[in-house]
Symmetry: C2
Subunit: 381 residues, 2 copies
């Protein structure tokens, strides 16, 4: 059987581990490295439409299994013809396993070898998420790419705890693989965990690679550790993953981390950050973040980022956006969400070109310098 | 001097008072009868963009003087190059006088011959709106069509009160006309008041017509009176207005009232209703209103209105929209707002065609019958 997800490596950059490639899915072939916007509840936050996502270059979007399980439920989505049909997005869709949300959001949680017991936050029902259940839900939702259930322990958790957790995550990955009903048209990724412990990251990668997933995620990063810590784990982990499979760094979406992840061989990224901060009026720009609702911009008739050519920047001023945020108008959130997503997609386009030209380190220097990045006091941007 | 706003009557329908015409403004020539969406704070509610408004056939949009006076303030809008530039809408803009909001929203209100004293609801400042001030603010905002300051007394207010009010509104209209700084590129409309009193409506119309405004509004309707009451006042008022000027019925936006207004010679309508109800999940359809978040639609995979060809109805199901409302996603409000505005624009397009074909009464019958309209128990739809 052909796997549902394939990866085609086009080239490796001359001076770094960066890879230019393609992820081939049942809903199209997509260029990597790529950033994937997050539509948690089968809709993009900030009211950005699927057509607008496509127009700005989105190729794969992410939806959350946990949220969709709770509402409207996987059976309803299946009845609608699957997530693509339900949400009117006909390119790639990736869902997570639901594990991260159960461990970070759910109340009355009890973790066993079998799975996790918890309470439905909406109606108080008792729920149980097992590796098989996570797969079963995702089989019904119908994304192109699914995730194995994993536990994501805190980065600074004890060695013993993380060792047990990593071993259980490997057993869960194997159980999930067996439960997967549609390997012919949905690709299941395993998730490498191990917090900051190098030997546990190695053990996790080895376990999962032996199970031969069509792709690998790296989890448990961007959870409070420093930038050098994250880079250290990436440098250690990506060489352990097969070169003919895509690599997905979960939950990372600042310009600096995208570039530094690509340099270390990452192909796919996702993050709620661009739309989450946009809804509060914070915009990503080539000179760093700009809080457009600040009084400083009341009479500023420049676009958010004069170097940006997105719809928002071509038509609206900081003064107008500040007014919309002060007036609590949905349209302001739509415009800043659009801009931030465009900003990251545009960056990834430049990153792909720089890999082709073997100029990725020059691009990194240019981007970091323009931002005024200080390596002594690193701050995500 | 050429007036800023002109009206060109194309034809009068054979069997009714309905007029097919054009309103000629500094930002284009627009077909009437028309419905004008309301972007209170210089942005359409429900995050609908200017491009989407144009695509669905919006020609003139309305913004509220009261809200824009309070924030961001007329000087800022003028500094931005006026409302068209500020909000990225390059067709027609109409502003109201601010009076309606002062009389319905503002606290600590005191009405004198000079004007109205009240408190700024945002910062508690004392404010004063006079006929001259209303014009001065609108001159700075820069819409194509402006309104005279009027008082809109309750429909069932006493005769004596309404008589005094109408007389003051006429004096205010005259003062506003004198204060108008840009009659060459902004057209000022007078507003006929008089509640339900026929002789006061006549007096108001006579006073305003003698002042020779480039257009006339009819105010004080759709404020709680019955449909026959509204129709009675319209039948009485429009024959008193010059045929070579546009007539604008303020605050009316249900399908039945639009058709019945057109039949009585109205050219322009505005209302917050379509977007206000859309944001709560209520959709206008050819078979009446549909509350899409109701449980009945959980598994309904039809569009909001199977007879509608708008973006929302072409791509999304009731089940998906219900999910978005349950999940409190901005995108749901955008989709229903788009649909309701499209619904009214599409209706007005059919109305214009029906006037051309002298079939307006047939169209009325068809629309009312499909809705299941009961003249014994009239209900707006």
């Amino acid at each position: 059987m052909e796997p549902a997800i394939k990866y085609h490596l086009i080239k490796t950059e001359k001076h770094t581990g960066a890879r230019l490639g393609e992820v081939i899915t049942p809903h199209g072939t997509f260029q990597t490295p790529m950033f994937m916007p997050v539509g948690t509840q089968a809709a993009m936050k900030g009211a950005v439409s699927p057509e607008e996502l496509a127009e700005m270059g989105s190729q794969v979007v992410l939806a959350n299994t946990y949220h969709l399980w709770l509402q409207p439920g996987p059976d309803l989505v299946a009845e609608a013809g699957g997530l693509h049909q339900f949400m009117n997005w006909h390119k790639g869709i990736l869902t997570d396993s639901g594990g991260f949300q159960v461990f970070s959001l759910a109340k009355h949680r009890k973790l066993t070898e079998e799975g996790v017991h918890f309470r439905n936050e909406i109606n108080g029902d008792k729920l149980f998420l097992s590796p098989e259940k996570a797969i079963n839900i995702q089989n019904k939702l119908g994304p192109d790419i699914m995730m194995s259930l994993d536990e994501c322990p805190p980065f600074f958790e004890s060695y013993d705890y993380v060792k047990h957790s990593v071993e259980r995550t490997s057993r869960w990955a194997e159980r999930g693989l067996k439960a997967h009903a549609h390997p012919d048209y949905q690709g299941l990724f395993g998730i490498v965990q191990g917090a900051g412990y190098e030997d546990l990251r190695r053990q996790s990668a080895r376990d999962l690679v032996s199970l031969d997933f069509p792709g690998y995620s790296i989890g448990g990063l961007s959870v409070g550790e420093s930038k050098p810590e994250m880079n250290r784990i990436l440098e250690l982990t990506t060489p352990l993953l097969p070169t003919n499979k895509p690599r997905y760094l979960m939950g990372v979406g600042t310009a600096d981390s995208l570039i530094d992840g690509v340099i270390r061989g990452i192909d796919m990224f996702d993050c709620v950050l661009p739309t989450r901060i946009a809804r509060k009026g914070t915009c990503m720009t080539s000179h760093g973040r700009l809080v457009v609702k600040n009084a400083a911009f009341a009479h500023d008739f420049r676009p958010i980022d004069p170097e940006c050519d997105c719809y928002t920047c071509r038509h609206y001023t900081r003064a107008y956006l500040r007014h919309l945020f002060k007036a609590d108008e949905d349209f302001g959130r739509r415009l800043t969400s659009y801009h931030n997503l465009y900003f990251l997609h545009h960056l990834m386009k430049r990153v792909r070109q720089a890999i082709l030209d073997d100029h990725l380190l020059e691009l990194r220097e240019e981007v970091f310098e323009k931002y005024g990045y200080n390596a002594e006091h690193p701050k995500n941007f």
